[in-house]
């Protein structure tokens, strides 16, 4: 039976029409391609009018197949499938040819571009004829959500969902939630106290009946698919029985072992071997650091156990595992701080009074190691001059090419705090001052008025090698003042390095675990940079906060809430459509070799022991085709990507080679049955 194919060529304004002769292409398709009964071009095929054009032709002309030559199917495949469905045609009988991304945007010769467009349309027409009706199925959505990361972003997402009445499992790697924000003293540009605005949210999380807080825990494994994920959580042994601990803190007080706190105090302060990162920690239960604890190292001490009034210490405690069923996942795993020893010219780690931004945050914090006093490394001397160095590891091809987005404002905040606390002369060495949000530029104005000195120039080096008498005993910041056009040596007492925000060191592993991808720089990749910033290419896995790219607290909170809203939409709807574009194993041909089992990137294939064959779970399968190509017995077929469809498309693409030859030779690779 001959099919009736409609071909629709989109101008995309001048995006396609500027490089491809769209009218000529439509005419050519109508006149030359077999089975094409209608061929039209239109200014914007994706517009309502464009869609209606297709729908009317389906109804009036009785079209049985549709080809749309427009943009990438990535963008509008859904649109045109829907148009077909509206007119009663199975949506999988529509095929798109990407005339924009694959031709007009990457060509410079209109004639050649039009020739290539003919090939693509011809290929799509031959392919669509082989396409089959497919039907999506539905699966229920589990209303529970897994939120990974208990910084301000994860906290926001968890609270939004929990307040709406949905259950949340919040997993945090550290002993307490709070993230980087809990380490800060003030927040820009309003200068409100970070802890004062964060800790109420933290305790909401701790007390919320709809939130299960799993701190000192990590996600081990995730399986399943949108609406129906299974997550295995490892709860690391705290050595403290949460059920018995009252959080009184006697154990911490009595613990004789003091170690440098590299995490919460950024290495600037100390904590005990049994510790709570900070007084307002949520949950309140302490943790024994087994690598530092004298008992674990030497077998004696147990001071904490002796003094614990509720016998909550448990030295034998083991890691435990929890298996969770959730419908959606929100990743809010945050960032790592740049290690400034990677730029030796700034002297961090070598020159005592060079500090990292996180060290300075802790120093400013009233609850920090210096009780909020800004002092030199000797712990007592107040600096009379401070240099704040921007772009340390940012905007630098050797380290991170991107702008870390928050450092300019954080430097202004530091300037304000330093002036307020010490009266010191504070210098900011910047490349470009970036203050693009609400009330940010006004904050910059404020610091200018407060007398902070701004030097436009990236710092070349920080040295203690004095050249001139005024430099003796100081740190000298050498730069070019690019506005004055002169080299400057600025002697100061203290240097603060605004280190870059970097992807978590294990971001790529995390991405792999959750089936999402990372950008070249290591940030999690969103589905669309503008229009779908918190979704990922994996349905049901959302990203929020800095793990997606550098951003400040307001933006992180907004993304946390946005991700929660996306999840709520899924839960409210209650079901998800399962794409029918999946692989199927034909049992009669399967030899049970299991090659496909391990190749499947989505763990969708299992081996049925009783039958001795492999089986594809359609809900997990993404239709990628890896197994289809790998199966040595050709026992697997991929719906929507059958051999017939692919070879027909190739034949179509080669229309002029084949017709020009006159012989009409078939493309038939060896070893593939027709």
């Amino acid at each position: 039976m001959a099919e009736k194919v409609g071909v629709y060529i989109c101008h995309c304004g001048s995006n396609i029409a500027g490089m491809v002769d769209v009218e000529g292409l439509a005419r050519w398709a109508g006149a030359n391609l077999e089975d094409v009964t209608v061929a039209r071009d239109y200014k914007f095929m994706c517009s309502s009018l464009g869609q209606e054009l297709i729908e009317e032709d389906i109804k009036k002309e009785g079209l049985t197949r549709v080809v749309v030559g427009a943009c990438s199917p990535h963008l509008h495949e859904k649109t045109f499938r829907k148009a077909c469905a509206n007119a009663g045609l199975n949506p999988y009988l529509m095929q798109m040819a990407s005339l924009r991304e694959q031709i007009s945007w990457v060509s410079s010769d209109k004639d050649k571009a039009t020739e290539k467009a003919k090939a693509l349309i011809s290929g799509a027409v031959r392919r669509v004829i082989e396409q089959e009706e497919l039907f999506a199925s539905e699966a229920p959505v589990n209303p529970n959500t897994l939120v990974v990361g208990g910084g301000v972003t994860g906290i926001q997402a968890a609270l939004e969902l929990a307040d709406a009445g949905y259950h949340v499992y919040l997993v945090e790697r550290e002993p307490s939630i709070g993230g980087h924000m809990a380490q800060f003293d003030k927040t820009f540009p309003t200068l409100d106290c970070s802890a004062c605005i964060l800790t109420p949210k933290m305790s909401d999380v701790g007390q919320h009946e709809s939130i299960t807080l799993l701190s000192y825990a990590e996600v081990e494994e995730v399986t399943g698919y949108v609406g129906n994920f299974h997550a295995r959580i490892r709860k690391r042994a705290r050595s403290v029985k949460e059920a018995d601990c009252t959080g009184c803190g006697v154990c911490i007080e009595k613990c004789p072992k003091k170690v440098i706190d590299d995490v919460f105090e950024a290495g600037l302060g100390y904590r005990k071997a049994i510790y709570r990162p900070f007084p307002q920690a949520v949950p309140k239960y302490p943790v024994i650091d087994r690598e530092a604890c004298t008992y674990y190292l030497k077998g004696t001490c147990k001071a904490c156990e002796k003094f614990c009034p509720t016998n909550a210490i448990d030295f034998e405690q083991q890691d435990s595992f929890l298996d969770l069923d959730v419908g959606n996942v929100i990743l809010a795993t945050g960032f790592d701080m740049f290690d400034s020893t990677r730029l030796p010219q700034y002297g961090y780690g070598r020159l005592a009074n060079v500090f990292s931004n996180l060290e300075f945050e802790r120093m400013c914090n009233a609850a920090g190691p210096t009780d909020g006093k800004v002092v030199l490394r000797d712990g007592v001397t107040t600096p009379e001059s401070i240099a704040i160095v921007h772009c340390v590891g940012s905007r630098d091809k050797k380290h991170n090419p991107y702008c870390s987005a928050v450092c300019c404002m954080a430097a202004l905040k530091f300037g304000h705090l330093a002036i307020e606390k010490t009266g010191a002369q504070v210098y900011s060495f910047y490349i470009d001052m970036r203050t693009p949000h609400k009330n940010y530029e006004e904050f910059y104005d404020r610091l200018l008025a407060e007398g902070m000195q701004f030097v436009r120039g990236r710092v070349a080096e920080v040295t203690d090698a004095a050249r001139l008498p005024g430099e003796e005993g100081k740190l000298i910041v050498q730069s070019e003042d690019t506005l004055a056009g002169r080299q400057r040596r600025t002697p100061v007492d203290m240097v603060v390095l605004m280190g870059a925000l970097e992807p978590r060191h294990d971001a790529r592993e995390t991405a792999l675990k959750f089936g999402i991808s990372c950008s070249m720089n290591g940030w999690f990749t969103e589905r669309h940079p503008k229009l779908d910033p918190v979704a990922t290419m994996t349905d049901g896995v959302f990203i929020a906060g800095v793990c997606q790219g550098p951003k400040d607290i307001p933006d992180s909170v907004a993304q946390g809430a946005a991700a929660a809203a996306r999840v709520m939409a899924m839960i409210t709807k209650g079901t998800v459509l399962i794409e029918p574009v999946v692989a199927t194993i034909h049992e009669e041909n399967c030899s049970g070799c299991r090659i496909c089992n391990n190749l499947c990137p989505y763990n969708a294939i299992t081996f049925l022991e009783d039958k001795g064959v492999s089986y594809v779970n359609a809900a997990l399968c993404k239709g990628c085709g890896t197994c289809v190509a790998a199966c040595p017995a050709q026992a697997i077929s991929g719906a929507h990507f059958s051999n017939e469809q692919i070879f027909s498309e190739i034949e179509g693409l080669l229309y002029d080679a084949i017709s020009g030859n006159g012989a009409g030779h078939k493309v038939e690779p060896a070893g593939v049955p027709a």
Partner: protein, 187 residues
């Protein structure tokens, strides 16, 4: 695929004559080069300013600047540049352009280079005593007294040769250099 956009005019010329020069287009004027330069204080313009001037097409101002002649080839700017611009190489390019066009003003540097190379071109090896002697007499006859003890020290310690060494393959080297110069002139 993007073709690396080559600029025309002076900037294009500078880029074309420098290995890896295309990255000059990515300069963000951060001043790391100017801040790093050990002799930056004595330059008419910092390297960064020079790049802005190249961008603005200020050919004469750039080629008359003493900046390239104060470059000591320490490569600090090159390794610190956040855009990986080969700044030291660019300085060599500007020196060559200035020499070719006779645009440099009163720096002793081009003449020092020429005197140094004259011994090399004639003998195949450099000759310190000849170089320093010739250069001093021409540019700083009284300065010689300042470092006289150094010269005497060098001689008494046996560290100064009184005649240059000539390599055996001098004829071949001369042919190589003659050809090289001919090709450079055509390039």
């Amino acid at each position: 695929m993007h073709e690396p956009s080559r600029r025309d005019g002076f900037q294009g010329e500078v880029i074309a004559a420098t290995p890896g020069g295309e990255s000059l287009l990515t300069c963000i004027q951060c001043g790391t080069c100017g801040g790093s330069c050990p002799s930056g204080a004595d330059m008419d313009h910092t390297p960064r300013q020079l790049f802005a001037m190249i961008n603005a097409g200020l050919r004469q101002d750039v080629l008359h600047s003493n900046t390239p002649w104060y470059c000591v080839s320490c490569y600090y700017c090159t390794v610190r540049c956040p855009k990986e611009i080969p700044i030291t190489e660019l300085m060599y390019t500007l020196k060559r352009m200035a020499v070719r066009e006779g645009a440099y003003d009163d720096s002793k540097a081009p003449d020092f280079s020429r005197t140094f190379i004259r011994w090399v071109e004639d003998y195949g090896r450099s000759f310190e005593l000849g170089l320093m002697g010739t250069h001093m007499i021409r540019h700083n006859p009284f300065g010689a007294f300042k470092i006289a003890d150094m010269g005497i020290g060098m001689i008494t310690k046996g560290r100064m040769a009184f005649s240059p060494t000539r390599i055996k393959g001098m004829d071949g080297l001369k042919r190589i250099l003659a050809k090289a110069k001919q090709l450079e002139a055509q390039a």
